[in-house]
């Protein structure tokens, strides 16, 4: 399926939930935060939050900063 992830159009294996997407991307759900179509996905709900073709996804984590 095609999603807009972190500003780039990407083709990923078909997934049904945010949790699935993170798994497909090999990302640790405890290490990142996901914003789906401009809505922050609370961690406990990643497994219940559906992802569909064309969704806008932002996946962020912490980096060094001052």
């Amino acid at each position: 399926m095609e999603l807009m992830i972190n500003g780039d159009r990407r083709t990923v294996p078909a997934v049904e939930t945010v949790a699935g997407l993170l798994a497909a991307l090999d990302l640790d759900p405890r290490a990142v935060v996901v914003e789906l179509n401009r809505t922050i996905i609370r961690r406990p709900t990643v497994a219940d939050t559906p992802v569909v073709e064309g969704d806008q996804v932002e996946i962020v984590h912490f980096v060094g900063g001052g």
Partner: protein, 254 residues
Amino acid sequence: MLQIGGKDFESRLLVGTGKYRTNDEMVRAIAASGADVVTVAVRRVNLDRRDEGGILHHLDSARYFLLANTAGCYSADEAIRYARLAREAGFNEFVKLEVIGDQETLLPDVAGLLEATTVLAKEGFKVMAYTNDDLVMALRLEAAGAVAVMPLASPIGSGLGLLNPYFIRTIKRRLHVPVIVDAGVGTASDACLVMEQGVDGILMNTAIAEAADAVGMAKAMRLGVEAGRAAFLAGRMPRREVAVPSTPASGMLS
């Protein structure tokens, strides 16, 4: 003991995690600084260069209090969005709020900052607001619910030191929440001079990360902050334009 938003910290030196040459140097420098509070930023995961992991692999979150910033945000809305994402990461409700108003100087947009502070404080965030050295805005930020006000010594990454001690001193004298000077310190004497104005703490990053020996400078900054605090509490001697002997003038031979 430094208390911010109801939380106690041993060290009055807060440090950033950016611009280090290596993660190892960062870890050793932060340890040498004695800091309890360490700032981090929210950025997109890089899906292509997996090696480049986030910062948390390197920081002992049991030892350090992670303070997310909103660096790079140029509007209240953007800063609010970043603050919410940071909170969702689930460490704490504190945020070092930055709303930048100019790309060249990275000076804050105080209007946007006040707006974002008001919104986030209502949402239960403990806002530490990075602002300029204007007393009036500092008072407004406090009134809007900021748990700490963070005036600059000089622009971010400039190393110009404390450009306006008088304004910083005035802000500290008038506010009730902690005043943490943020940005601009270049060397240990800057840190010491800042603390001598009576402020509650200092947050810095570049001065340590860009020193020839980051670990050595981190230690110097720890000592400088402690020295300035101790001197402020001890109460300095008066300045005099005439000399006064430290040795008795009497009892000289004839």
